[in-house]
């Protein structure tokens, strides 16, 4: 009963939100929330912390921008190409990265992302320091649905977000997701039961890369451009922070974290460089004091409150 009520409230809020908040802000927040969900899928359910997820987010943004702007593809195909490109990149880097575990995995993904960053600085198709600007918002469904209007596009982005979020949800609650959790908790045991751990981890990595790519391409569509910031290490750090703020390993945490971080960047723009300092301070405070994140701490508080009563 309660759950249904909460779901209805969230659904209504999502539908009327653009009348209360700036639609571009909401769309950006949805993209970053989806990005954080993709990251969290890997960390929360496969126990793999990628510190290089910006490479999928950013490269997908470039793929989308290039196919749509330079090659003149419709945006549906641009999105598909971007997702496939990110998935392929995930397949290559993931196959190498899963050869090490734990902290090494984080360093390897970070290093690959840095390599991709340097490639993006040098390759002509990314536009180098200028980035890829003026990516057109073309109408969807062969011209039937114009997307120039921010309010219309908001609902398109909402659908994309729900699609990506739903894909992750289905994945986690499938037998495949169960095996993944078993590997996360005890890899040796899963191996001895006959599961090929590496294959499962790789698939999770590819799926996570693909969803991160979907988020990046959608962001490029919303803001009309793709830049080096999207592939930079700072973006990889931001997605970790979003998942951390919301709560590692919770399903809704990354969504909350995504909204919090994008809001923080928008509303704290006046402090300039100090945004980095604030972000760093949040990292420190959460790691030292509130490792369950907003959602985790809240639900723990809720349970503790109900138990004695």
């Amino acid at each position: 009963m309660n759950r249904v009520l909460v779901a209805i409230v969230i659904a209504v809020a999502a539908l009327v939100a653009p009348w209360f908040f700036y639609p571009v802000f909401l769309m950006k927040a949805l993209c970053f929330a989806l990005f954080a969900c993709a990251f969290n899928l890997l960390l929360g359910y496969a126990g793999l912390m990628s510190f290089g997820h910006a490479m999928f987010f950013g490269m997908a943004a470039y793929f989308f921008g290039h196919t749509v702007k330079v090659w003149g593809w419709p945006i549906e195909f641009g999105l598909i190409a971007a997702v496939l490109g990110a998935a392929l990149l995930g397949l290559v880097t993931g196959a190498l990265a899963i050869r090490r575990q734990g902290i090494y995995f984080a360093m390897i993904t970070l290093a690959f992302a840095q390599m991709i960053y340097f490639l993006c600085v040098q390759m002509p198709f990314t536009g180098g320091e200028d980035g890829l600007q003026g990516i057109p918002r073309k109408p969807l469904f062969f011209g039937l649905l114009p997307t120039e209007n921010d309010y219309t596009l908001y609902y398109v982005v909402l659908v994309i977000f729900l699609f990506g979020f739903g894909a992750i949800y289905r994945f986690i609650h499938s037998p495949f997701g169960q095996v993944l959790k078993a590997i996360r908790d005890n890899e040796q045991r899963a191996l001895s039961l006959g599961y090929e751990a590496d294959r499962y981890k790789l698939l999770a990595f590819v799926l996570s890369a693909a969803v991160a790519g979907l988020a990046g391409a959608t962001k490029a569509m919303v803001v009309h451009f793709a830049t080096l910031t999207d592939v930079a290490a700072s973006t990889s750090g931001e997605v970790v922070l979003m998942a951390l703020i919301g709560g590692l390993g919770t399903i809704t945490g990354p969504v909350v974290g995504g909204f919090v971080l994008v809001a923080m960047q928008d509303y704290l723009a006046f402090v300039g460089q100090l945004v980095l300092v604030i972000q760093g301070a949040i990292f420190v405070v959460i790691v030292l004091g509130a490792r369950r994140g907003l959602v985790g701490e809240l639900s723990a508080w809720w349970k503790a409150r109900r138990r004695p009563g």
């Binding site: 190498l96 902290i103 290490a233 460089q273 300092v277």
Partner: protein, 295 residues
């Protein structure tokens, strides 16, 4: 382009690029050494390493401009100051997370690096400040020109690395350290103050990073973000070498610097990425790293 033909390249260019590579390698070696020592003792990958390297350079620059302490004084004082800062960080924060997964140490030090670099950038901006070379001039070796200070950096880095190796592998304190890395509980039972040893190790590792920063100050511009990209490359160096062996870190660091210098001659656009390519190859062939034993 494409394939490298060594005979088409002038020896002048080749050797000067190899020297640059050797200098980069000296910094990779010093920094990856510090990371390995800290990781061995604290189980924390110190993401703040790049920021602490930058703090070393800044400390030297501030000592020169504000207090008129020359380079040679800063070479001793700056690592001590930054090392003490590291000890405070360890006592206040790092010691609270040793019982947790490695990832939390990584996240905590990442956050600290952002705070430190953000504050320096906010106060001094992102453009670099020059630091005059303490040993001007150079030698004409016939096949190339060797700036005196750069030659000094390579030698100094070698001495620092070997001294660290000696301290850890051949002295009593080093023996305690290695023993405490293997089995802290048992070493504690022998009456050795392991937490103090851990604090000291972090201080020394951070001091090493700061020392590298002081050495870098006259070569690079002193800027708030000078360590940001460097630390990422050093992570790749650490993955390539594996953190199991001190000597391994030194050899890998210098070797990769040379590889980078060589790439700059043969295929300049690849010089930024070659270390990451080497990392991918090593992961394919020997996933534990060139000198690593465990997973």
């Amino acid at each position: 382009m494409g394939a490298c033909n060594i005979f088409e390249v002038s020896t002048q260019l080749l050797f000067s690029q190899l020297l640059l590579g050797l200098i980069n390698g000296a910094f990779y070696a010093m920094l990856s050494l510090g990371l390995a020592v800290i990781f061995g003792m604290l189980n924390v990958i110190n993401f703040t390493h790049g920021a602490q390297y930058m703090m070393g350079a800044f400390a030297a620059w501030l000592m020169l401009t504000e207090l008129h302490i020359p380079f040679w004084g800063a070479l001793v004082l700056a690592p001590i100051v930054v090392g003490l800062f590291g000890i405070v960080i360890e006592r206040l924060m790092l010691k609270r997370i040793y019982h947790l997964d490695h990832l939390y140490g990584f996240l905590l030090t990442f956050g600290l690096a952002q705070i430190i670099e953000g504050l320096f950038q906010w106060n001094w901006g992102s453009s670099g400040a020059p630091y005059q070379s303490p040993i001007p001039g150079g030698y004409n070796l016939g096949f190339m020109f060797l700036p005196a200070y750069r030659g000094f950096v390579v030698v100094a880095a070698l001495v620092i690395c070997l001294a660290t190796w000696y301290a850890i592998e051949r002295t009593r304190l080093g023996a305690y350290l290695r023993a405490a890395t293997e089995n802290p509980t048992l070493v504690r039972a022998f009456g050795i103050n392991v937490p103090r040893l851990i604090t000291l190790t972090y201080g020394l590792g951070v001091g090493l990073a700061a020392l590298a920063g002081v050495l870098a100050a006259p070569i690079q511009q002193v800027s708030a973000l000078m360590g940001t990209n460097l630390v990422l490359v050093v992570f790749a160096v650490v993955v390539i070498g594996g953190m199991g062996s001190i000597m391994g870190s030194i050899v890998t660091g210098f070797g990769l610097g040379l590889v980078e210098g060589f790439t700059k001659v043969c295929y300049p656009p690849g010089s930024n990425t070659v270390i990451f390519v080497v990392m991918a190859l090593v992961l394919l062939v020997k996933p534990a790293g060139l000198f690593g034993q465990t997973k």
